[in-house]
């Protein structure tokens, strides 16, 4: 890019970033603005700041419940899928056995299942097992996308590890299992962390299954709770936006802290150039 076009590009970039950030900014401002002002005279700069909406979230709507539910579901799903997925990913990436690329292909194919296509049988299955509106009743369906995701991401990471490290470990007398645990896993830690973060984000954001398989505030996750906010007279925008800000905060923090890892993870598997 020549020096002439550079200010243009920077300017445009700045504009784009501003456009991206604007909805957030506006949401934060609105969540701190009294309801009345919001409807009568919305303005870009807050004239007065109140915390009523946030207070109402927790005092009147017990918003801590959905937060707890989301943390449990997303957390447990992530831990389980990363653990089991890492075994499968190591096998696919490193071991030679017949059918391994077919298995990877199959796992990828599963990520293409539209959730809607398996919602009803899952509903019936969960109902038969008495798991509707329970934690396992969400964790199990979440594995339909979390497991393939973790396997796919981790295969990408494991493939990047040098093969001769394993051979050196064999020569040193380590069994396959010992090599996996003492050499491969420690080296894959960045990959495991990234996979964990991405899986957590996907689980936290999931909506359709959470909507279909939960019945009430006791087990509803954050996205569902927010979507179902009902006001007495009108849409309670103040509280909705306050909830949105809260729902966004952990994710935004994760992304800001780990952006490099996340980008690496997303692109390691995707773009082989």
């Amino acid at each position: 890019m020549s020096s002439r076009t550079r200010p243009l590009a920077v300017g445009a970039l700045g504009l784009l970033v501003a456009a991206i950030a604007f909805p957030f900014y506006w949401a934060v401002v609105a969540s701190l603005t009294p309801e009345a002002t919001l409807f009568r005279a919305p303005s870009l700069w807050p004239r007065e700041i109140i915390f009523d909406h946030y207070r109402a979230l927790f005092d009147e709507r017990a918003f801590w419940l959905p937060i707890r539910n989301s943390l449990i579901v997303a957390g447990l799903t992530t831990i389980f899928c990363v653990a089991v997925g890492s075994f499968a990913a190591y096998a696919i990436a490193r071991l030679r056995f017949r059918g391994q690329s077919a298995i990877l292909g199959f796992i990828l194919a599963v990520t293409m299942f539209p959730q809607i296509s398996i919602v009803s049988p899952l509903y019936l299955m969960l109902r038969a097992l008495g798991l509707i509106n329970t934690f396992p009743g969400l964790i199990l369906p979440y594995m339909t996308f979390a497991m393939p995701l973790t396997v796919w991401l981790l295969v990408g990471f494991f493939r990047q590890l040098p093969r001769d490290l394993e051979e050196a470990a064999f020569m040193d007398g380590a069994s396959r299992w010992q090599t996996f645990v003492r050499v491969m896993l420690p080296l894959a830690t960045p990959g495991l962390a990234t996979t964990g973060i991405l899986t957590f984000i996907y689980c936290w954001n999931e909506f359709l299954f959470a909507l279909s398989f939960t019945l009430g505030p006791e087990r509803q996750t954050v996205p569902v709770a927010i979507a179902l906010f009902r006001g007495q007279y009108q849409v309670p925008w103040g509280e909705i936006l306050a909830a949105a800000v809260i729902a966004t905060a952990p994710v935004a923090a994760l992304v800001l802290a780990f952006q490099r890892r996340i980008v690496q993870g997303l692109t390691a598997g995707a773009v082989k150039g």
């Binding site: 784009l16 996205p223 692109t267």
Partner: protein, 308 residues
């Protein structure tokens, strides 16, 4: 005389094979149980009549009746139309904007990490939150969209965006573009960074200007990345649910209803499991068809088996 190697002494290779299957087994079992089995069940359901509102009718086998009914279902075709429209429009905008963003971010500059992170946040937040944000932005009274447009003199009076199909699509498309352009930009950026600097240098020495470089160096070499983006985005856009459910509910009426939402309504509102399953199967087949088309037709290797 050559002594054949005894089968049980195959050493390292047998151990590998056994361990391989052992390690893959748990993941496979989970996926097969949770994803494959339900899918098969859906297909099975789709060839039966199963209306939970009318349990006395039982669950008779009806063959392809459901599918025939779908063919004549106007609401189905409308929703397919909506889905195609949504997919086409979003992807085009996202690709153009994403490409621009990626090109702009390709230079290293101070704060690039921060920009990347900031740009990534919309992708990372729950879709329902994004939908709510944009619903709020386009709210008739409290929404900033109306405020800005009226204030700038473009509109005489605020529009009720969600009451007409044509205007209801605007926040929907904008919200999707806002949310996914960053993801597209990042994938394209990774592809850009794979392009060798020296190609641009050689082109400049040969007298090629920035547009020429873009057209003949960047874009051709970016093709694999663009294809990957296209595949993922087409599949995702086709399956859109969360965004529209929260933004417009499919409305006004069913004017913005995509196929996934229609299926959902049939299944979990109308409780017509047989018919809904048939719809699900159609969605699955189309999704799969798109994927196969891309992969086979454009020969993209997603498993990365080549070259590693």
């Amino acid at each position: 005389m050559r002594r054949p190697v005894a089968p049980r002494q195959r050493g390292i290779e047998i151990e590998e094979r056994r361990l391989g299957w052992l390690l893959v087994a748990p993941a496979l079992v989970v996926i097969a149980g949770i994803a494959l089995f339900p899918l098969v069940w859906t297909v099975w359901e789709s060839i039966h009549l199963h209306d939970l509102r009318m349990p006395w009718r039982g669950r008779p086998f009806v063959g392809l009746e459901n599918y025939v009914a779908i063919a004549g279902d106007r609401r189905f075709w409308a929703s397919m139309g909506h889905t195609v429209f949504f997919t086409g429009t979003s992807i085009t905008l996202e690709l153009l904007l994403g490409l621009f963003l990626a090109l702009a971010m390709n230079r290293s500059f101070r704060g690039r990490g921060l920009v990347r992170a900031a740009v990534l946040v919309p992708w990372a937040i729950p879709t329902v939150v994004a939908a709510l944000l944009w619903r709020f932005l386009f709210d008739t009274e409290a929404g900033i969209a109306n405020a800005l447009l009226v204030g700038a003199g473009v509109l005489e009076e605020p529009i009720v965006w969600f009451i007409r199909a044509a205007t209801a699509w605007v926040p929907v498309i904008l919200a999707d573009v806002w949310k996914t352009t960053p993801f597209v930009a990042l994938l394209l950026l990774a592809g850009l960074q794979n392009i060798d600097e020296s190609l641009y240098e050689a082109a400049s020495v040969d007298g090629a200007g920035p547009w020429w470089q873009l057209r003949y160096v960047t874009l051709p070499l970016l093709k694999p990345a663009i294809l990957v983006v296209l595949i993922f985005r087409t599949l995702d856009a086709f399956r859109v649910f969360d965004l529209i459910y929260v933004l417009t509910g499919g409305g006004p009426g069913t004017a913005t209803e995509p196929i996934a939402l229609y299926t959902f309504n049939v299944l979990l509102q109308n409780l017509q499991f047989g018919y809904g399953s048939a719809l699900s199967v159609i969605v699955f087949l189309v999704t799969f068809g798109i994927a196969v088309l891309y992969i086979k037709g454009l020969r993209v290797d997603l498993t990365g088996a080549r070259g590693r």
